[in-house]
């Protein structure tokens, strides 16, 4: 799978990132490099440090040490510029239930110096029929598409999606996959976290698996699948001829439960 694109260069470069909370080290010396135009997946069990990493990259959390370079800029010096260039969807933002879809997007649009047309964004996320519905009346999938629309309205170069399809029904998930694939086809860079291996396999050009704040594997989904010897998998997996990304994930991060 091609990882170098027409506008190559680094969209996100993270080196030696460290972040500790009072009781736990969330990110422990992480290095990442996301190429412009690629869809990059960040996988890992609960508590692996994915959200912390993403929030540091989004400028929402300060890092303890290490450096983050987003689109060639740094949060310490270019925060205002960077916020104009990024599209963000957080894990569990609840948008105001009293506002309509239109009003919500008009609000987000108003924050950006150069913003996309609301109607166009609404069509893109297929919420045309819900334009004047209150957010409180939307289904889970529709709310999530609205959250993605809020990330799109500023015409971002780089989009961060933190578990965009968690808790959605299969139809809504596929609709979002279409949407994400379309961003990528428009030449935007995407960084997403997910628990669904199928999602990563379908959408991501490259995947990093992190655990305990370290990166433990990096490559295209195919490369990672091929790195596992199927015959070593515990039952019932050995019946397969090639490993799935989920096999890789479980083989690397172990089988014990990681409850948040």
């Amino acid at each position: 799978m091609a990882t170098t694109l027409e506008s190559s260069g680094s969209a996100l470069r993270v080196t030696g990132l460290r972040k500790a909370y009072a009781d736990v080290i969330a990110v422990d010396g992480l290095d990442l490099n996301v190429e412009a135009g690629e869809c990059f997946g960040l996988l890992g069990p609960n508590g692996a440090g994915k959200t912390t990493t993403i929030e540091i990259c989004e400028g929402l959390l300060p890092a303890d040490s290490g450096s983050v370079e987003v689109l060639g800029k740094r949060w310490e010096t270019d925060a205002d510029q960077l916020r104009e260039l990024l599209g963000i969807q957080l894990q569990d933002t609840q948008l105001s239930e009293k506002l309509t879809v239109d009003e919500t997007l008009t609000l987000f649009q108003s924050f950006y110096r150069n913003a996309r047309d609301i109607g166009e964004v609404i069509d893109e996320v297929e919420l045309g029929e819900k334009r004047s519905s209150r957010v409180g009346t939307l289904s889970g999938g529709q709310k999530q598409r609205l959250a993605v629309a809020c990330a799109l309205v500023g015409n971002p170069k780089l989009i961060f999606l933190d578990e965009p399809t968690t808790g959605l029904d299969p139809q809504s998930r596929r609709q979002l996959w279409d949407l994400i694939a379309r961003f990528q086809s428009e030449g935007r860079t995407i960084v997403l976290t997910t628990h669904y291996m199928e999602e990563a396999e379908r959408l991501c050009d490259r995947v990093a698996i992190v655990d305990h704040g370290h990166m433990i594997a990096l490559g295209t989904p195919r490369e990672l699948q091929e790195s596992i010897d199927v015959s070593n998998l515990p039952p019932p997996e050995p019946r397969k001829t090639t490993a799935t990304l989920e096999d890789v994930f479980v083989a690397l991060t172990g089988r014990h439960l990681r409850d948040e």
């Binding site: 799978m1 091609a2 694109l5 027409e6 506008s7 135009g37 989004e58 400028g59 929402l60 205002d80 916020r83 104009e84 990024l86 963000i88 957080l90 894990q91 569990d92 933002t93 609840q94 948008l95 105001s96 009293k98 506002l99 009003e103 008009t106 609000l107 987000f108 649009q109 108003s110 924050f111 950006y112 110096r113 150069n114 913003a115 996309r116 047309d117 166009e120 209150r134 809020c150 500023g154 015409n155 971002p156 170069k157 299969p170 139809q171 596929r174 609709q175 996959w177 279409d178 694939a181 990528q184 086809s185 428009e186 030449g187 935007r188 396999e201 379908r202 959408l203 050009d205």
Partner: protein
């Protein structure tokens, strides 16, 4: 979409191979609208203020507590404590052979309600307070005995009224002719005291709740964090609360004072511009307290506790329902320094006494100092995430 094609073909549909075909819509070439294209109504300050406005009017409970509840409270208390004129005096007469002419003379006085009793019933009526004074005719036609409790002022009053009726009935002629002119003074009734207090309480409540609750809700829903990830100006976010407060402020003043004026004739003796200035400064100053309550709290439960902790003492001490002068002399300086006391005092001086702007400057000073201190403390402590 639902009858998914085999995995391989769907994967290839999304593969980067397709990209150059639609590369015409890259972020650099997608059509965008600049701030100027979008116009004033779509500016972030207007949009943020509109959001505050919409969130408020789409919350029926908030509308009730801000606009309807104060009016119900004013109406209820105004009716309960209205002045009904002097009460009629209940007097009893012991029935015997001389009581008939006596009762007749007493009935001529419209302030007296006269009943006749036999001996034991009369004693019981006096004891239980059904009558304030008992008239006992004596066997001699030219003398009468009054039985009453001289500690009770209305009994003394009854003594004077009854005796006058008895004397006039027996033929006394007054030497001096007297006439009465009655005056009623709006401004001295309970409702006149109450309405400015309710206005002050309402200004405090809606500023503190309006900021405190909304901000903490946004924080607990991670909406505040989401907004922080946009280029939104933080000061505009906070300013939008004040802007929407000012819009509702006018409505609050007009509904409550309009009601008081229309239903009870509560006077508005001072300048309306000064009244508006007092309300404006009060709303902004209490906004600072609201912001301070919201600066750290992560849950709406926590902020509700903080806000009640701030407001409850002022409901009691600041002279909303009864004068703060009822509290001991030693604590008066502290009561005077509470922001709601200053607001209520200033409103009463303006509305009831028609005092000038200069006369309410000490109160305005207290209000402004509270506003400045709380805003700076809030900005220092405020947690955006």
């Amino acid at each position: 979409m639902n009858d998914s094609p085999p995995e391989v073909s769907e994967r290839s549909e999304y593969s980067p191979v397709l990209r150059p075909a639609v590369a015409g819509r890259s972020p650099d070439t997608t059509k965008t609208l600049s701030r100027r294209d979008r116009g004033f109504k779509r500016s972030s300050m207007v949009q943020l203020t509109l959001v505050r406005f919409r969130e408020f009017i789409r919350e029926p409970e908030a509308v009730f507590w801000t606009f309807i509840f104060p009016i119900l409270l004013a109406a209820g208390l105004g009716i309960a404590f209205r002045q009904r004129g002097p009460d009629k005096l209940q007097v009893g007469v012991v029935a015997n052979q001389n009581s008939a002419p006596l009762i007749q003379s007493l009935r001529k006085d419209s302030t007296l309600v006269v009943q006749s009793f036999d001996d034991s019933a009369a004693a019981k009526a006096l004891r239980t307070g059904r009558i304030t004074l008992l008239v006992r005719p004596t066997p001699q036609r030219d003398s009468v005995l009054y039985v009453y409790d001289r500690q009770r002022s209305e009994a003394n009053n009854a003594r004077v009224m009854v005796d006058r009726a008895v004397q006039v009935g027996a033929g006394r002629v007054d030497r001096v002719h007297s006439t009465d002119t009655f005056v009623t003074e709006p401004g001295s009734r309970y409702i006149d005291f109450l309405i400015p207090g309710l206005l002050g309480m309402n200004l405090m409540g809606s500023s503190i709740w309006g900021l405190g609750f909304t901000i903490v809700t946004a924080r607990s829903k991670k909406l505040l964090k989401r907004l922080m990830a946009t280029p939104m100006s933080r000061s505009q976010y906070l300013a939008s609360f004040l802007a929407s407060r000012l819009i509702f402020l006018i409505l609050e003043i007009v509904t409550l004072l309009g009601f008081g004026h229309w239903a009870f004739g509560v006077p508005l003796r001072g300048s309306l511009a000064t009244l508006l200035l007092i309300c404006l400064l009060a709303a902004l100053s209490f906004g600072g307290l609201g912001l301070l309550s919201a600066s750290r709290a992560r849950t709406t439960e926590a902020v509700s506790g903080i806000m009640n902790f701030i407001m409850l003492p002022m409901w009691i001490f600041s002279g909303v329902f009864f004068s703060s002068a009822n509290f001991p002399h030693a604590v008066q300086p502290f009561i005077k320094l509470l922001p709601l006391t200053a607001v209520n005092d200033a409103l009463r001086l303006n509305m009831l006494e028609g005092s000038s702007l200069a006369a309410v400057t000490p109160q305005l000073g207290v209000i402004i100092v509270w506003g400045i201190l709380t805003f700076f403390a809030a900005l220092k402590l405020f947690r955006w995430r």
